[in-house]
Symmetry: C2
Subunit: 286 residues, 2 copies
Amino acid sequence: MPEAATAPAARATIGDSEFDRDTALTRRAPGVYAIALSAGWTIISAVNGGYLLAVLGRALADALPHADPFTISAHYLTASQPGPAVVRTDVVRTGRTLSTGQASLFQYDDEGREVERIRVLASYGDLDTLPDDVRTTARPPAIPPLEDCFGPEDGPAPVDGSSAITDRLMLKLDPSTLGWALGQPSGKGEMRAWFGLKDGRDPDPLSLLLAVDALPPTAFEIGLKGWVPTVELTVHVRCRPAPGPLRVSITTRNLAGGFLEEDAEVWDSADRLVAQSRQLARVRLG
Amino acid sequence: MPEAATAPAARATIGDSEFDRDTALTRRAPGVYAIALSAGWTIISAVNGGYLLAVLGRALADALPHADPFTISAHYLTASQPGPAVVRTDVVRTGRTLSTGQASLFQYDDEGREVERIRVLASYGDLDTLPDDVRTTARPPAIPPLEDCFGPEDGPAPVDGSSAITDRLMLKLDPSTLGWALGQPSGKGEMRAWFGLKDGRDPDPLSLLLAVDALPPTAFEIGLKGWVPTVELTVHVRCRPAPGPLRVSITTRNLAGGFLEEDAEVWDSADRLVAQSRQLARVRLG
């Protein structure tokens, strides 16, 4: 086969990828980090909550003696914007196998005052030291092979507003959770997709924080429209993911009183349940 | 029917009950509360994590302009003991419908220094202002009627160590999740029970924080023994519970690497899914 006129771009790697560049922070002082939040991870014109969690997660990985988030909870206070931001971290406790830390992301208002966007509480450990004992009874989601699933590039843009994040993700939705994009929501609070980063970077514990919040809202399949802002998101990272695409399965079972929960499971190519999350989100009814 | 020689004790009420007395705090200064942690809510000699969460939850209900926890996450740092404790709260943000706060519980070491036991991040609202729109698709657990379930008082004490909490709870376990107490664990990570407070106090949003962590560990039914300490616990309170007993159903599906998750659902007498929680806990393997 003749060589292409221009060599294809090398596949991105963990540490050298869009995701790594856009979540990289500069340490200004102990516990103080600066970042310019990228405009590249917006969904319906809002900076994606999972991207923001990964930014905070990366700061805590630097601030704590342990590198991997085990359990991380974020409360989303005000809407973040692309542009300058500061992350401040506090070490709460350091232990032999677990350390706990807190982090806040701030931006600036028109008067230059700091406004807190997100506050996070998290416990970190070392995933590589966990014993191999795996007794998971949960099973991977029933999702068709990747080649039988569909991404935003396979159809017209179904939602108004900028969704730059779709340019950075390999996202292929299960056709049975795609009805909303065709004006025929299933009525079931489910969303399933194959997930990866478009530049080919393999998953790692920090990109799992993005993966749990990167799918369209289950609310769309329930027939609700509009933004479904996250109030709080807790992620358990249980295993370092194997290389290759992830499968993400999200379920909502308790839409009530103007709120809903989204439970996400993330499965890697080795059929491990590598992350579980639950978020509480607000819905606009009617 | 002749009158009893002594009148039966009046049934406790929300505000006047063991639970209220044992979670009551004294405000020493803005954001500073004192409490003597009760020895009455221990399980396997450890102060129950849900009782501790309720203590912190009550402090935040006082500190914040909104009274009801909507989503509350706790990281358990060091083991609490009955006795003097201080809770310090910080208001993170106040909004029209939601406010966010942080709280820490401290006790004192032998040199009188403060040691942080638990740190909490929570968002509060007003459950009574939520719209009536209920589209919950989850269904209540399949649990036999209360009279066909069994509590600790119905058999010999199956676990060593003081479990004073059992004197304060009405806890009736589903027989199909009781095998562990008879030396025949089912092997399934499930635990179900009817739950109430023994003095008859009806449930409320704060007692839901206790309810999600008051059952025996699912690990017992998986055949594991010993303490299963909670690393982190997040509770969503979705509805003010109706009076009467609650049904609590807990599931573990991801026991792996020395950790497990416990997902709890709490259903009230009106068949509402009033609370959902997930905790990450450590297990001792083999």
